[in-house]
Amino acid sequence: MATEVKLPRLGQGMESGTIVRWLKSEGEQVAKGEPLYELDTDKVTQEVEAEASGVLLKIAIPEGEVEVGKTIAFIGKEGETVAVEAPAPQPKVSDTETVSDTVQEPEPKRVSEPTTNGRIKASPLARRLARERGIDLASLRGSGPEGRIVAQDVETPAPAAARPAAPVPTGEVTSQPLSNIRKTIARRLTEAWTVPAFMLTVSADMTRANELVARRRELEPDVRVTVTDVLTRVCAQALVRHRGMNVQYTEDALLSFPNANVGIAVAAPQGLVVPVVHNAEQLSLSQIAQARGDLVGRARDAKLRAEDLEGGTFTISNLGMFDVDQFVAVLNPPQASILAVGATRDQVVPVDGDLHVVPMMTMTLTCDHRAVDGATGAEFLKTIKTFLEDPGLAL
């Protein structure tokens, strides 16, 4: 009896997912725990592992959006036949018939080849992957011998601008279908925009925080602590001291969370993602640095799992590395607040009647006014400033 592979629910609120590609072909041996296909949810693209061992008898849904719980493939013994429920967009096919004569192959997506350039050099594997993912080979740059497009170029495409042969004609509008992640960003931030929010701005003297970062790097060169890690630690400590900030507004109740799960906004190649350092209030600075390094690395490689993105109670968005002085972040719902961090700059500051040059960093806290009042936010922000200026207080 063949095992049905069903689309799993990988996180709370997941209703459907988009199958990007299968990592195994029909007829291939599959071992339990081996990556079987790539799934794009509204949060993340991840590899899903096989739940049974055997032969991949039939891929019922080669690609596209599928509801949670739907059968997408069968794993069983060599030669076994399976009854397949036809993919939803093909209503003519009845529910249970044998595989061989009912399952229609999806229309292969047309890969447009440029007319100016003649044939594109690509390996057979690269061509197949591009076909399966609907990627236009002309948009890729080949890294193989004599510019041949190989599988890796399809999997991690270089920016199209780097391809000298086919420049995008100026003045022409190009249209690119929205990725799931882009759709999610748009939906959630539009939702956030309707929330009554207020913003509070403060600047902190970063002299001691910078010394702390430098000293940690000396002591543990392998871990490489950053200002973002200090901020994560400081915010987590401030959140547990200001319980009224670690909350979420819902229609009929205010939820208050026991742990400080601090999200860090990351500009991943596919768009903005916010992986979460869970229970950050219990982690040391170097533990936070390690967790952050792992999450950011995987975010950039599109290897985040659903659980990495869940459960955040607060978000830090740091654009200091882009030389932004200060900015206002949009809330990351359902969280009640988000901290927008700018660059640290030397500024002339009067201290006891003298002028001193001090490294200053400006932060803006955006709060959901339905859940948090101005004074609560201001006290919280004051604590963050105090901890940054005297990190020993955050112990």
Partner: protein
């Protein structure tokens, strides 16, 4: 597990079969007192006598014909053709008679004969005594062709060849006679038509035969140091070919190198490349690389002989080309 040399493993298969089965006997040039040019049958005359360890005149055509005749009469002869270069002299009997009789008689006749032969470069035997001609015989319907590369394989496969009801051309590589390896206590027949995966890897599959199996394993070690994971597969039987194992491996790694000592042009590797490109076309991420001897008669001068035949470094360079690191 006992350890045997490749030479002892061949002898063990022959002697064990002869002890248990009166129908099995060996014949060839100088195989009795001299023990054959490579010493494989040394000592067998004393145990089995002249009737079953038969010296023949220096005529490969005659001795091949006699062996075929004995096989037709129900015996299981193992004929030794001293050098595979001399298979050209036996070819009429092997190609036109042994390979065809079962077919032409509508199955009334079977020809359970084994032609053992050996060759290969390494000792500078010159252009007429070191060729690798296995591809010639793979081209003939009606023959099975075996080329074993380890003591365990050579013993188990020779056993299966002796007890196969079809003519088998059994290639041994001269430079492998001295290598040692563990073998099962009791002879375990290795099925004809089953490849062996010597080493698992992720990035490139090297399909190699004979001496090149060992060269490829050395190349794989070196490639690993450079971050390239190499799978090494020895088909062991060239006909019938275990296409499934080869194709499965290449579907996994997406790249292939075929390596043998014979010249590449019309070599066995050409056939393997053809099988792979057809059955794994959509899985290939690089052209299939072929490693073999340069298209030249083998030179006598040792340095030139080494120049003509392939070594581990040639396999390594081919591996690196497939991953665009050469």
């Amino acid at each position: 597990m006992p350890e045997l040399s490749y030479r002892e493993a061949v002898r063990d298969a022959l002697a064990t079969a002869m002890r248990q089965d009166d129908g099995v006997f060996i014949m060839g040039e100088d195989i009795a007192e001299m023990g054959g040019s490579m010493g494989v049958t040394s000592g067998m005359l004393e145990e089995f006598g002249r009737e079953r360890v038969r010296n023949t005149p220096i005529s490969e055509m005659a001795l091949a014909g006699a062996a075929i005749g004995a096989a037709l009469q129900g015996m299981r002869p193992v004929a030794e053709i001293m050098y595979e270069d001399f298979m050209t002299l036996a070819a009429e009997q092997v190609v036109n008679q042994a390979a065809k009789l079962r077919y032409m008689s509508g199955g009334q006749l079977t020809v359970p004969v084994v032609f053992r032969t050996q060759g290969g470069a390494g000792w500078s035997p010159g252009a007429q005594h070191a060729q690798q001609l296995e591809a010639w015989f793979v081209h003939i319907p009606g023959l099975k062709v075996v080329f074993a590369s380890t003591p365990e394989d050579v013993r188990g496969l020779l056993w299966s060849a002796i007890y196969d009801d079809n003519p088998v051309v059994f290639f041994e590589h001269r430079t492998l006679y001295g290598i040692k390896g563990n073998v099962p206590e009791k002879i375990e027949p290795i099925p004809i038509g089953k490849a062996r995966v010597h080493r698992e890897g992720e990035d490139v599959t090297v399909i190699a035969t004979g001496r090149l199996v060992h060269e490829s394993l050395a190349a794989a070690e070196e490639a690993e140091k450079q971050g390239v994971s190499v799978e090494v597969v020895d088909p062991r039987t060239l006909q019938p070919l275990d296409e499934e194992t080869l194709v499965t491996s290449v579907k996994k790694t997406n790249r292939a190198v075929v390596a043998h000592e014979a010249v590449t042009r019309m070599g066995f590797g050409a056939e393997v490349a053809s099988v792979l490109q057809y059955q794994a076309f959509d899985w290939l991420d690089a052209p299939i690389e072929r490693v073999g001897a340069k298209f030249s008669p083998l030179p006598f001068a040792p340095v030139m002989e080494q120049f003509v035949v392939p070594h581990a470094d040639d396999v390594l360079q081919a591996i690196l080309r497939t991953v665009n690191k050469a």
